[in-house]
């Protein structure tokens, strides 16, 4: 449990650094440190599937973020109504913490889940599906509907990105645009 708290403090510090640092590239690196800490937390909690996925997706997101932020001086708005903003944030955090204390009291203790459905999977999963990795037997056999929905979401997201970014539908074709087309 101690290493878990150390990692949590590390992640919170990384998130604060990512918000407060003025340089965008350093901020992206801090976000990457938070993701790495989260991946190690999953490993400590004995969830290697989620740890692998978290690490790999984090790397992909970092590459895209670095490509998007490198050599680009985006302005930071540090001036303005900071007193009003800070007050609003404090009020909302207080409301959220109060609601969390009220609502999360009835949840089972950390590390002692109820395991009403999951115990059935643990006992009969190997016999019924033949897969020794029970996570994959759940996501592709017992709960395959969820995976179908997730696949549909990803498909729609890819189609959406390609439809927004494609060159055919864009308006305002200037001379520079035609040059770019000829170069490619």
């Amino acid at each position: 449990m101690v290493e878990l708290y150390i990692l949590l403090v590390f992640m919170i510090l990384g998130a604060v650094v990512a918000i407060e640092v003025k340089d965008l590239l350093s901020s992206v690196v801090a976000v990457g440190a938070v993701g790495l800490g989260l991946s190690i937390v999953f490993l400590v909690l004995k969830a290697p599937d989620v740890a692998i996925t978290q690490l790999v997706v984090e790397i992909l997101c970092l590459i895209i973020l670095i490509r998007a932020t490198l050599k680009k001086d985006l302005p930071f708005s540090t001036s303005g109504r900071w007193l009003f903003n800070t007050l609003v944030i404090c009020v909302f955090i207080t409301i959220f913490l109060f609601a969390a204390i009220k609502c999360l009291k009835d949840l089972p203790e950390f590390g002692h889940p109820i395991m009403r459905v999951a115990s059935t999977y643990l006992e009969e999963g190997l016999k019924k599906t033949g897969a020794t990795n029970l996570v994959s037997s759940v996501i592709l056999d017992y709960r395959a509907y969820d995976t179908l929905g997730e696949a549909t979401i990803l498909f729609t997201a890819v189609i959406g990105v390609l439809a927004i970014v494609r060159r055919i539908g864009r308006k305002k074709v200037t001379d520079e645009d035609t040059e770019v087309k000829e170069n490619e």
Binding site: P48, D49, I52, T53, V56, V57, I59, L60, I63, I64, R67, A68, L70, K71, L126, K128, T129, G130, A131, T132, N133, V135, S136, S137, I139, L140, D141, A144, Y145, T147, L148, A151, T152, L154, F155, A157, V158, V161, L162, V165, R166, R167, E176, V180
Partner: protein, 149 residues
Amino acid sequence: MSREHEKGMSLIVKTITRLTVGLIFLYGVYIVLHGHVSPGGGFAGGVIIALSFIHLMLAYGKEAAFKKLSKAKASFFESAGAILFLTIAILGFRAGYFFLNFLSKGEPFRLFSAGTIPCGNVAISLKVGAGLFAIFTALVLLKINSEKK
């Protein structure tokens, strides 16, 4: 910046990429195929496969990466993965109910076991790998074009 995209990075990066990118791709395929035996699965393996192509594109420029996996091929593989996954579901429906595990289970800890679960892993990895590569190329090419103006 945009010239770096066309030609790739330095000689050191290119040499190390040439040595490692095939291993990264094979590791992705391994994680996909052993998704029902060991940790991993279709999503993680698919992202690793996409990362190997992105690695190639970052080191060698976009032409070398498009020679291996062009945009049309990427969208073909993505659609093929989606249709393959739906086909597995409908074949199960023909045998009984939706997503029925209709193939034989085999014995545990073998590569060819667990019925339709490895097929689903392969379909999802095709979808995720090609889809993420397509998203990455779309965003990067958009950025290059906006920098050229």
